[in-house]
Symmetry: C2
Amino acid sequence: MQHASPINDVQQKLEQTRDQRVSELQELLRIPSVSAVSAHHDDCREAANWVHKQLAACGFETETVETDGLPIVSAEWTKAKGAPTALVYGHYDVQPPDPLNEWTTPPFEPTIRDGCLFARGATDDKGQVFTHIKSVAAWLDATGKLPINVKFVIEGEEEVGSNNLEKFLESHKYRLACDIAVISDTAQYGNGIPAITYGLRGILACEVILHGPHQDLHSGVFGGAITNPVNALAKMLGTLHDDDGRIQIPGFYDDVIPLTDEERRAFADLPFDEQAYCKSLGIDAVAGEAGYTTLERRWARPTCDINGFFGGYQGEGPKTIIPAKATAKITCRLVPGQDAHQLTQALEHFLREQCPPGVRFEFKTYHGAPAVLCDTSSPYMAAARKAVEAGFGQTPVMIREGGSIPVVGSFKQILGVDTLLLGWGRNTDNLHGPNEHFHLEDFHHGTLASAHLWAALSQ
Amino acid sequence: MQHASPINDVQQKLEQTRDQRVSELQELLRIPSVSAVSAHHDDCREAANWVHKQLAACGFETETVETDGLPIVSAEWTKAKGAPTALVYGHYDVQPPDPLNEWTTPPFEPTIRDGCLFARGATDDKGQVFTHIKSVAAWLDATGKLPINVKFVIEGEEEVGSNNLEKFLESHKYRLACDIAVISDTAQYGNGIPAITYGLRGILACEVILHGPHQDLHSGVFGGAITNPVNALAKMLGTLHDDDGRIQIPGFYDDVIPLTDEERRAFADLPFDEQAYCKSLGIDAVAGEAGYTTLERRWARPTCDINGFFGGYQGEGPKTIIPAKATAKITCRLVPGQDAHQLTQALEHFLREQCPPGVRFEFKTYHGAPAVLCDTSSPYMAAARKAVEAGFGQTPVMIREGGSIPVVGSFKQILGVDTLLLGWGRNTDNLHGPNEHFHLEDFHHGTLASAHLWAALSQ
């Protein structure tokens, strides 16, 4: 009798707890756990505690491990003797909510409207990691056990480079031993088109500061006689790309593993409405490296983007000054083959060489991570396909993603396992921007898919 | 008997009122009359009232004239029948005080230390215009009259382009009729080297905004596929100068009247310590247009400076976004021959032509003004030399200035008069920057020179 199978009991349990699960997620979203801002580090610890309590309440053996930065919540349920072990990774920290004035409702006052839950972290990653916490809770609640062993690692520094995660993985590698890792920090391909992500871009992040005069100076009295740090930095950064959108840092493309013809064909087969895409972003045209489609540019070509540039007067009206300094925050998205460390050095060298007299060049390096390509033919991948289909009622498409999840590389290197990248959210969920949200429908489908995944991985 | 001459009585009066005059100036400096910020417009009106009361108390017929923006204080004493008439111009508004955290003492809490009075507006222009108010006060107080007729026009929108001044001059041209204008809004050449300024640079001011996606986007998900407005604006602005510091806007130098050989020789004869100059500014080298000295670059060559550039994330640490927009505030300093309106159009065209697809180009124009060259052989200039020498105990040198005082052109055009530019302050007074100050010694010498000027102009 189908009704008697454990997954059906789990499914029923999930149905019964729909509203409660949303309400619990709202509790977590109320905590402004912005890891990039030191003033919010107490909030980050509060979010860690909240996650700890949730996992402990499910029956997981749970520990909050201190690091040199923010703590990592580690939990496990390993009573499925002989069954495989999955390791779920997620993060409780969120991006800064700026620009605050563009939020319709405040970023840390989670609000439901139009079937979506609006809050910073709603999808990235509190909402998505919560689906796995609630799927194991439903299994344990409905059946008293899980079909496989499950471990959790939920950290608090993903948005600032996961600086203390590798060390934690190294020192806990035996405790974290597993067969496959699971991460929900990517997105569906489109509305009603769930996806499994088999490739990610890597990243390098840095900051360039040009120091000019010791303070802002009158542009009439001094203009023309000293180097203006903002003009100088604009000129330097203006050389990063040629008119075809090709990055001009010497050697930048040398190690790029190109897309296969098969991948290019598969990408071309995916539905993509360029006009609708532009409209949704409020732009009149896509643009990028010549010779590539939009999907190829997003998923498999490297970038060099200025994420922030500031120097001088930003208020109302004009102000006639030579600014004292200029700063640019830069990230490059990397593709398979490229080395973050080596290219960070190449970028620094490229810019430093161009620095004119009269300003002092400063370069800060943030986190870096290599790109990822997963084996699409593994049994884990087959189980994931089955689970996503059960959760969303749709066969998932196989895609790459433009974002970076550095931990996937660490899992491979330290734990020796591949990762299933199962994204429940959407690219239009405004992660990292104002009005981030999570479709409640996706939240529920994702939780169901997660519940199915434990069963599928046990077979 | 020398002691009985009126100027000696005036001088004695000035001696007696030294402390009181400093204390009164502090009152004016306490008013945060920042014209660029609408929230400070009530403060601007308070400053206008304060100036009005001072002039009325001297015995001047005084009126505060409303405009479409901030009011203009107009005053006159015209009882010296048959004597020439001088028109003193100044402004009661000040630059914004940003960056606030770099001030040692708050910008609107005037503080005396090391013989200087620190406050926003201390020299530019409250302190300097106040010397003329107190010199006429001393004359009237000590002798009951002035040796010539004196009029004042003190406006409140100099720092935002004097948008309502020309209209006022046009509609009051008969009331303002005069033989010579006097402005103290420039600087001495150096410590103990007073100067008369016979040339000024003009200015054009604008703002460029590139609008990209309707909000900040995730740089992983979208990077490479859409135009990044900050990268685009940096690339556009990076083309403004070539590697020799020459401005690349087509036609930019076409109408420049070059320096004469005589001027270049005179500038070269002025004492200038490049090493001390760099040290005072905190830079390791001067830089600018190839083929010109620092003084030539500052006084007689045009510029194109970015006064502010901002787009994207400015907080602590990295943030992986494509910014929604990028903004640059730009001013060009112009030299004799150049037309502000025409070059604003050329700049707009130059940038707009380079704007890539995927971003929308917006261009805002602020005030513009032509450069000025005055006749150095006039009797007014001779009187000014005499007065400055009497006030400072030093023969003034003849210089140009890099700043812009658009009203000088308006006086020539509307009232038909030349202007004596008598600067009491110093280039190191940090006007427009943090910790603006006025040496009290300069304040007192300037007031004395002003008192002598009225006598010298009567001869």
